[in-house]
Symmetry: C2
Subunit: 339 residues, 2 copies
DNA sequence: GCTGGCACTCGCACGGACCGAGTGCCAGGA
DNA sequence: TCCTGGCACTCGGTCCGTGCGAGTGCCAGC
């Protein structure tokens, strides 16, 4: 068990290192922090912290830098979440309030988050798994061609073009549209399959039944596909402030950012709305081993429908970043609830 | 006027420099290219080329590298467009063909272009300025709340939520929907304003007229807003292969890539479908002064509806890049025309 | 007008010396 | 028992001098 003072030393090391980006030595520490002890004592504490694996020396005879384990302890026990100031909160709210549609909300959120944290921001679109169908629209484009438009309660719209096996009349189309909507409007995505399975039987013509089946399968396909989350990223220019040894550090990060799958995993598969910090190697994806991810769920009601977060160097200002992420998530939730 | 051989020397310099990324000297040139003359002669030619501003020395007593002007000449007169091989063309076609919707087409195009050129790819969504309205859908969400869905012939769908000044009945809504569609379906965006301006008069109730006016203004607003182009970028990881002096080169590029406006300008405002190469300082935006942009229009029919291109270092393989860009544009056009 | 030769320039890589921040250890004191 | 000041030691970073070699410009000769 580490003594109170040693934790204090660790905190000081993390803070200094985050600030200066340089290994911090015992003398500099006592000068910048009121630890009340001499450098020699701090050296002993540092040796102990190093034995425990919380800090490390990049080279012999250099200062210490925190390890992933050290940051972990810092985040868990030594640092709180730094709340946003009132003016900052107001600015966030104002900025998000003038969004015109869902895309715009997400785009603004990304920009905001990137600016506040000066890191790379990632925002997942509100998930469709928990959302409901608001309306299904069918439009005749050509005799044997129908466009399917799906509108969700989160304001998302998806469309698909369908080639029908046979021409489909306007009246049949209107009929199908009405039947479809009366069954699925307001229902959850997951309930849709069983609600529509007997729909083809309502049509007398064999050809129409074929078309209806085609339309339904496209609808179900769309539901499944769009349940996969989309996301938006921004602030990649902040990667340039990452570290000194550029190409090697930045490359895998940029690559990871282009892989939606990786990013989604990064934000955390579980729909756990709590804030989560993953430090360095805690991110399964190698190449992100020198980055940390701060993510949190956000949602329109009480429940989280998606996640957002930032990706930055392990050497980041955790309290500030966590504060910004939490605040943005809260206000995005509000905006979504209002619309 | 430069002699034939001097042009040949310039071509050799560009090719070698693009390949090796190192200043190229007279001796190396004669070894790698069959110029039929001695290094000394080449040196004289190089001196002449330098006088004319086509090449430069990074330091005294170093080899030469092409200037922007040199690349310009190379692109205009010395290099053709390197066509894709048959297997490559087939691969492009196959990859694009399995797209499911417009977003997917654009996403695939970006990835393809980035992979083929190993550079940053930018693809503009098909423009709405020349496109027509396929359908306008109005959905009642609440007594005084209507959702407007606009579907274009390029397959794009936009939606807006509208708060009405007064409750609006289902029948009035159906009436408005029918009138609206009969007027604007199939018409160009630019024609819509005058086609709908007298619509409110068709409604007797003053309250309804207010709502109709609100709906119409939202529709027009959407048309205008969405005429602004959206775009998608990819392959940013390729930026790491940019050059040696990293942070300084890459930073402004990443920043520029986040600014839609800048990017749109980069692709070229004019709807000129011809392939265009902008080299270094020819890009108005400073910070992109060491990058070149190869862009070309693409379209579903004969006319270009949008542009796509790649952004890379001025030291890029112009013939290959131009070939890839042209090929991709052609096939995207085909895919769009089919759907 | 091309060529070979020659003197010159300079960036770069290598290696030694120096400096200083930082460490570990130890003996002495509260 | 814990803290402190002192001391010897380590070693990365910087500076400097040297030598090498690629590359240049110029010139006389073919």
């Amino acid at each position: 068990m580490l003594s109170e003072r040693r934790l204090e030393v660790l905190r000081a090391i993390v803070q200094d290192y985050v600030g200066t980006e340089e290994p911090v030595g015992s003398k500099a520490l006592t000068e910048r922090h009121k630890l009340g002890v001499s450098p020699a004592t701090v050296r002993n504490d540092m040796a102990a912290l190093e034995d425990e694996g919380y800090i490390a020396q990049p080279h012999t005879s250099a200062g210490r830098i925190p390890t992933d384990k050290g940051y972990r302890l810092f985040v868990d026990r030594l640092a709180g979440v730094k709340p946003m100031t009132a003016p900052e909160r107001r600015a966030i709210q104002n900025f998000l309030e003038c969004s015109v549609d869902l895309d715009d909300v997400v785009a603004r959120t990304v920009r905001l988050l990137a600016q506040l944290t000066r890191q790379v921001a990632v925002v997942q679109y509100p998930s469709l798994t928990r959302s409901t169908v608001r309306h299904v629209e069918l439009l005749s484009m050509a005799p044997a061609r129908v466009m399917l438009v799906l509108i969700t309660d989160t304001g998302r719209v998806e469309q698909r073009m369908i080639d029908c096996p046979a021409p489909f009349g306007e009246t049949a189309l209107a009929d199908l549209r009405a039947r479809l909507n009366s069954r699925v409007a307001g229902r959850r995505f997951t309930d849709v399959p069983q609600l529509v399975q007997d729909l083809p039987e309502a049509f007398e013509e064999a050809e129409d039944r074929g078309t209806v089946t085609t339309v339904l399968s496209t609808l179900l396909e769309t539901l499944v596909e769009e349940t996969e989350e989309r996301l938006m990223i921004g602030g990649t220019a902040n990667l340039t402030r990452f570290g000194h040894d550029f190409p090697l550090t930045i490359r895998p990060v940029l690559e990871a950012l282009e892989e939606q799958v990786v990013l989604l995993k990064l934000l955390g598969e579980a729909k756990d709305p709590a804030m989560r910090v993953r430090i360095g190697h805690e991110n399964a994806h190698e190449g992100l081993s020198s980055t940390s991810v701060v993510s949190v769920g956000y949602g329109s009601g009480g429940e989280a429908v998606a996640k957002l977060g930032v990706v930055g160097p392990t050497r980041m200002d955790y309290p500030g970043t966590m504060g910004a992420v939490r605040a943005v998530a809260r206000y995005v939730g509000q905006i979504l609830a209002e619309s």
